[in-house]
């Protein structure tokens, strides 16, 4: 059904009114409209869809025909390019193309069936929000009244188990200045390693044949000197795990901002930061890596507080690490990742589980550093159940309780890492 009619059109380079009218299909014009609307809805749901892709999508539909199942597969292949967007796409597709006439109404007002679809996972909330901006606004308003804790306006609404929220959104002016100063003054000395990539240099084991040849061509085949290729230095990948349980709140915020600024690409001493992954953990694990892409520190914090759902709910590091292992194990690259674990070690989970997961983490990273704010107390001993396990497994334990110690962090990291480097 799909192939025979569509095949001759494959030769057409693009979607034009000409081809559409040749097809003599009254639906195709309407379909183009619907498709554009669908693209808008996708964008609203946070799936990046540009005009080039929409044009490609129209071509694709001409090729596979209008059978619903093929249409879904074709649009998915063209419009989606990340695994995590697939669910959003499917639900949106189902809601959108159930009734093509709904297209205009969808954009303006809420779809009566949408609320039923949207109970449950936050993904679904995202879809519903894309379909019904008004509804989202109303909900947000309602839930603001329900909760007494100070609320972040940028947060997406959710009627689920978001119990308490970090007062996480903005730095005071004083803190802001401190962070700025720190970032200027403290260079995070991320260790570097010689990567497999090469660049021209004066030393090095491999001859730079291409350059040698170019020079020889000028001197009649005579090689006066042999240029070399040397291995390029690269910073080690960084994985940050920040404890956001209640006891850590004061530190978590500042440290996040500091790390965000200190590892921002294209800035100051940390210009050459490699891979950087950030997770917050309390009872579960939240991936903050996308929020770290915001250049602005306040925007990062606002998004982080919106993303973290288990703030001040206690620490279960074992479970968080379990989740890390199951879902994000590949963030640990080639056993050279530097893991910064920021926690006070007051763990409420199973010590046995923690022991096992920490063992795994230690085996799969280059260095595991525990940044512990409790180190401020003279004579602190890691005797709490979790702390004892952490202390045993970490390659080093550093203090981060105040700004002076943050300033020393750079030196401490360098000191801890030094003997380990080959």
């Amino acid at each position: 059904m799909s192939g025979a009619g569509a095949a001759p059109v494959a030769a057409a380079t693009g979607w034009t009114h000409g081809t559409a009218s040749q097809l003599g299909d009254a639906r195709s014009g309407k379909l183009a409209d619907n498709l554009t609307g669908f693209g808008r809805a996708l964008r609203r749901a946070g799936v990046p869809v540009d005009a080039a892709r929409m044009a490609l999508a129209q071509q694709a539909l001409l090729l596979v025909g209008l059978a619903r199942q093929d249409m879904a597969a074709a649009l998915e292949a063209v419009l989606i390019s990340r695994e995590q967007d697939r669910q959003v796409f499917r639900e949106l597709f189902a809601a959108y193309f159930r009734n093509p006439d709904v297209a205009q109404k969808l954009l303006a007002q809420m779809l009566p069936t949408a609320p039923e679809k949207s109970k449950g996972a936050p993904r679904r909330q995202r879809v519903a929000d894309a379909l019904a901006p008004l509804r989202a606004a109303r909900q947000q308003h309602a839930s603001t009244q329900e909760q007494k804790i100070e609320f972040d306006a940028a947060m997406t609404a959710s009627d689920q188990q978001r119990l308490r929220r970090a007062d996480f959104n903005q730095l005071s002016a004083g803190e802001y200045q401190l962070v700025q100063r720190l970032v200027r003054e403290v260079a995070l000395p991320l260790p570097r390693y010689a990567s497999r990539r090469t660049c021209p240099g004066s030393r090095g084991s491999r001859p730079h044949w291409a350059a040698a040849m170019r020079r020889a061509a000028r001197t009649g085949g005579e090689m006066l000197e042999l240029p070399r290729l040397t291995r390029r230095d690269q910073p080690v990948p960084l994985l940050v795990l920040v404890d956001v349980s209640g006891s850590m709140e004061r530190y978590a915020r500042l440290l996040l901002t500091f790390l965000h600024a200190a590892t921002a690409r294209g800035q100051g001493a940390a210009r050459n930061v490699g891979r950087r992954d950030v997770f917050a953990f309390g009872t579960g694990l939240t991936d903050l890596t996308p929020t770290f892409r915001h250049a602005d520190g306040d925007a990062m914090l606002a998004h982080a507080s919106a993303a973290i759902t288990d703030f001040a709910g206690g620490t279960r590091l074992g479970e968080a690490l379990h989740q890390l292992r199951r879902q994000h194990a590949r963030r640990l690259v080639g056993r050279r990742t530097l893991v910064l674990l920021i926690s006070d070690g007051l763990d409420t989970g199973e010590p046995a589980a923690l022991l096992q997961e920490l063992g795994w983490l230690r085996r799969h990273c280059g260095q595991l550093l525990w940044l512990n704010p409790l180190l401020r107390y003279e004579g602190y001993r890691p005797t709490a159940r979790g702390a004892e396990v952490l202390h045993r497994h970490a390659h080093g334990m550093l203090a981060v309780h105040n700004l002076e110690s943050l300033q020393q962090l750079a030196h401490s990291i360098a000191a801890v890492l030094q003997p380990q480097r080959r």
């Binding site: 892709r53 074709a74 998915e76 292949a77 063209v78 990539r197 040849m213 000028r218 963030r331």
Partner: protein
């Protein structure tokens, strides 16, 4: 490609080559062929990403050119390289013949086609009709800067060589990229590609794959293997393991069971052969005889 003028025809052609694609995948491949776009396949290890490229090459009767990516891969390993030794010899010869006076000419002579060593991307572009299938395997293993080398190829099917000019495709190569998602690929790459996420197969399809790949297995054995593995991947059992076995593992396991003359899978056989399904010590240990017998229970109709 003319023979594959519809999604169904493509599915059939792949099936003939022993690759059982579901309709969604076939649609994506069909579009990649028709729209002449590279296809980016992502998915867990062992779900058949590489195998698809191989089957597709056979179905299209094109040569398969494979570029295995790795950390630190350079342009000279992926696109082209000059044959420096031969170039030097050429210069020497020119000098010996007394033509050394005109250095400019010598320099031009040295950078000509016969001193060019084509690497996979260039090979794919130059492959004579019916063209090539280029498999860029595990792109995520190469580092981010490397992706930039691919952009020109993925977008325009050409490679620019400063000394010669742009080399364009004789026949547009069918290009498949695979990624295990150890990191997100750059948007510039994704924009140029169609995208498909390969899931673990449903049990029916896995059964069909085992039947096709391991003809020696009895129907009952194939059924048991497919059921066992699909249960392993689903909750609550999946939580006990760090990594679920892929299709490659289930096929391998079925072959092993046939080699062991197994007629019926029992817990003992499972624990003996656990090393085929799982490649990590913790996982092998987790597949205890008790768990295995639970997994081997006949279909729990009620629950």
């Amino acid at each position: 490609m003319n023979a594959l003028a519809s999604v169904d025809a493509l599915m059939q052609a792949l099936r003939d080559e022993g690759y059982l694609a579901d309709r969604r995948l076939a649609t994506a491949v069909f579009l990649a062929l028709q729209l002449q776009r590279p296809l980016l396949l992502e998915g867990e290890p062992g779900v058949g990403k590489t195998a698809l490229a191989q089957a597709l090459a056979r179905a299209l009767q094109r040569v398969l050119i494979r570029l295995q990516c790795y950390d630190g891969m350079e342009q000279r390993e992926a696109l082209y390289e000059w044959n420096y030794a031969a170039q030097l010899l050429h210069l020497r010869a020119a000098e010996a013949q007394g033509r050394a006076a005109d250095m400019g000419a010598a320099e031009r002579e040295v950078y000509q086609d016969r001193y060019l060593i084509p690497r996979p991307l260039l090979q794919a572009l130059r492959a004579p009709a019916p063209g090539a299938v280029l498999l860029i395997d595990e792109v995520d293993r190469a580092d981010e800067p490397f992706e930039a080398f691919l952009l020109e190829y993925l977008g325009e099917y050409q490679v620019s060589i400063p000394e010669i000019g742009a080399v364009q495709a004789a026949v547009t190569p069918v290009t498949i990229l695979t990624s295990n998602r150890t990191r997100d690929l750059h948007d510039a790459v994704k924009r140029r590609c169609l995208y498909h996420w390969l899931d673990y197969p449903e049990r029916e399809r896995e059964l069909a794959i085992v039947r096709a790949q391991v003809p020696g297995a009895s129907e009952a054995l194939a059924q048991q293997v497919a059921l066992f593995v699909s249960r392993l991947r689903s909750r609550p059992f999946a939580d006990a393991f760090q990594r679920a076995p892929g299709i490659a593992e289930s096929v391998e396991w079925a072959k092993a069971l046939v080699a062991l003359d197994t007629l019926v899978v029992d817990p003992e056989v499972v624990s003996d052969t656990a090393g085929i399904l799982f490649k990590q010590r913790e996982d092998v240990a987790a597949l205890t005889a008790t768990l295995a017998s639970e997994l081997l229970q006949p279909e729990p109709e009620a629950s």
